[in-house]
């Protein structure tokens, strides 16, 4: 009997995992690891696709040292930073507030909860189009409404307001995501904790700060990691809403890389920028990755 059990154990330890895991690792590897290695090589060259008569030349780390004299890069890092801070602040506070309210009054899987999720299910490109419709300065419905209320119409996508508008539209689309994570976090807090607090005579605020908030630490951490790394991904909605403009007022990092790579076709420099973006992203998601996978050991 002991023999057969060790046989089973052995079967689970054999190399046949490679048969199961191999194909996926090859597919993912050839589309992420290989391009990265190749990309590092590209980032050390000057390589312009629209000027094929200039040969691809090795320039060492020049593309990386060029970062320091690239005003547009600084501007776009700054835009990305403000975008990240704005979306994180709005989505954490409003997300938590709405999740708390929903938790009090709704069943876990009602249709209303689905409706709450709707904005994040909309194709991001369509989100951009919808808001362009609403925000258009001459015939958009928002300006019509505020004029009806007696307020002067605004240039929502003009140089002063464009970034704030972009942050609000992104929040419209992804608030459901933080609501959803907070809802899950809230429903995982045992009811007894609240009962104990009630017996102790704790009011709603004290209950919130001593029970709810501390138990949402992990959720909060996940939301923060996702929201900060999403700022580096932000592309689709900004592309359709403002195209990075007016001027470069809303050109976040992803759009800047895309512009340098596929408008200017400066492949070498765009690749160096890609490596910069990936590095920043790694710094953000690193702590998350090293913690999350422990849960599944």
């Amino acid at each position: 009997m002991a023999d057969t059990i060790s046989q089973i154990r052995a079967a689970f330890h054999r190399k046949s995992y490679l048969f199961f895991l191999g194909p996926s690792l090859i597919i993912m590897g050839s589309l992420t690891l290989y391009p990265m290695v190749y990309g590092i090589k590209l980032s050390l060259t000057r390589y312009n696709l629209v000027r094929p008569w200039i040969p691809k030349t090795f320039v060492g780390l020049k593309n990386f040292t060029d970062f320091f004299s690239d005003e547009y890069l600084v501007k776009s890092l700054w835009v990305t930073f403000k975008f990240a801070m704005g979306t994180v602040a709005l989505q954490v506070f409003i997300g938590l507030l709405v999740a708390l309210v929903l938790h009090q009054i709704l069943k876990k899987t009602s249709l209303l909860r689905f409706m709450v999720l709707l904005p994040m299910l909309i194709v991001p490109v369509v989100t951009g189009i919808i808001w362009r419709l609403i925000l258009n300065d001459t015939y958009g419905v928002l300006n019509w409404i505020i004029q009806w209320l007696g307020i002067a119409p605004q240039l929502w996508l003009g140089p002063d307001l464009a970034l704030i508008t972009v942050i609000i539209v992104e929040t419209w689309a992804w608030l459901p995501f933080s609501i959803l994570l907070f809802s899950l976090g809230l429903s995982s807090i045992p009811e007894q904790y609240y009962e104990a607090a009630a017996i102790d005579g704790a009011g709603p605020w004290r209950t919130f700060f001593t029970i709810t908030l501390p138990n949402l630490r992990w959720t909060l951490f996940i939301v923060l990691v996702f929201k900060f790394s999403d700022a580096l991904k932000a592309f689709d909605t900004i592309y359709t809403l403002t195209g990075g403009g007016p001027g470069i007022a809303t050109r976040a990092l992803a759009l800047y890389v895309q512009n340098r790579g596929f408008t200017d076709f400066e492949i070498g420099y765009a690749m160096a920028l890609s490596i910069l973006v990936l590095t920043i992203s790694f710094i953000i998601i690193g702590p998350f990755i090293s913690r999350l996978d422990k849960q599944y050991e």
């Binding site: 690792l25 765009a270 992203s281």
Partner: protein, 275 residues
């Protein structure tokens, strides 16, 4: 005292919820309104809520070659990539859930990081690679790319699901002389269907919504719906009715699909979100 206080809290809750619902749903309502407004020209002012609805915009985007080829591209690319990511994803998930091997932790971390890193970081080298292979603007390219970038989510979701299944019956089956592959087919798969269905829907929606790769890797033949709509935006800057109709038709597909699994959505998104 207590009762009136409870009533006022309820009113506050109702107020917050109403504001939030209006904020969430009004833009979608407005898209539908614009699509239903007959094409009288965009600069018409006056009360934008008063008009007689018509389906002209829908007819004009659905007739002729306006949207159909892109719709087919999106559909085929989405379906094939979803199938492949699920097929290889199930295999990999079984490997990760049921085997203990050196490098397992590293594999999990790597899979997670692909899911979280920004796709823009991979676009430039992939573009040069596909250009060298003469594969730009083909559906195959998008299928391969989507499969690779959908795999991490599929593997992660399915691995956690398999880990929740008790493995006693699998051990018994192995003891009866079945190999791992047979065990996967006969014992694991039957209890994996619900999770697979949910992952499949989330994947097809993610592929349907994807924009960056499609924008960069396609130009004519393999263009998908989101890219086609943004081109609409450039070409016909003033035909808001038609653009809205096209946008509405594009957006409604994922919503209907996910309505099917909305009960599992909370769990599904909870692990990572679908982005």
């Amino acid at each position: 005292m207590n009762r009136s206080r409870r009533l006022s809290t309820k009113l506050i809750y109702a107020f917050i919820l109403t504001v939030f619902l209006v904020w969430s749903l009004f833009p979608l309502f407005w898209l539908a309104i614009t699509a239903l407004r007959p094409n009288l020209g965009p600069l018409q002012m006056g009360n934008p809520f008063v008009f007689s609805p018509s389906l002209d915009n829908f007819c004009s985007v659905l007739s002729g070659k306006n949207l159909l080829p892109y719709f087919l591209n999106s559909l085929i690319i989405g379906l094939v990539a979803t199938f492949l990511s699920l097929f290889f994803g199930v295999l990999a998930a079984y490997g990760l859930a049921r085997f203990n091997f050196r490098g397992r932790r590293l594999a999990l971390q790597w899979i997670l990081s692909i899911r979280l890193l920004p796709p823009i970081g991979f676009v430039v080298p992939l573009f040069i690679m596909f250009k060298a292979l003469n594969m730009l603007d083909t559906p195959a390219t998008l299928i391969i790319v989507y499969t690779a970038f959908l795999l991490p989510f599929s593997i992660w979701m399915l691995t956690t699901t398999i880990q929740e299944i008790p493995k006693e019956s699998e051990e018994a089956a192995l003891l009866d002389g079945n190999n791992h592959f047979q065990v996967l087919i006969k014992i694991v798969l039957p209890s994996l269907w619900p999770a697979m269905a949910a992952v499949a829907l989330l994947n097809i929606v993610a592929a349907w919504n994807e924009f960056l790769f499609a924008l960069v890797f396609t130009s004519k033949k393999a263009v998908t719906l989101p890219v086609a709509i943004t081109a609409f935006l450039g070409d016909r800057g003033v035909y808001w009715g038609e653009i809205s109709a096209a946008a509405l038709l594009t957006a409604i597909v994922p919503v209907l699909l996910l309505l099917l699994v909305h009960k599992q959505l909370y769990r599904g998104f909870g692990h990572w979100g679908v982005k």
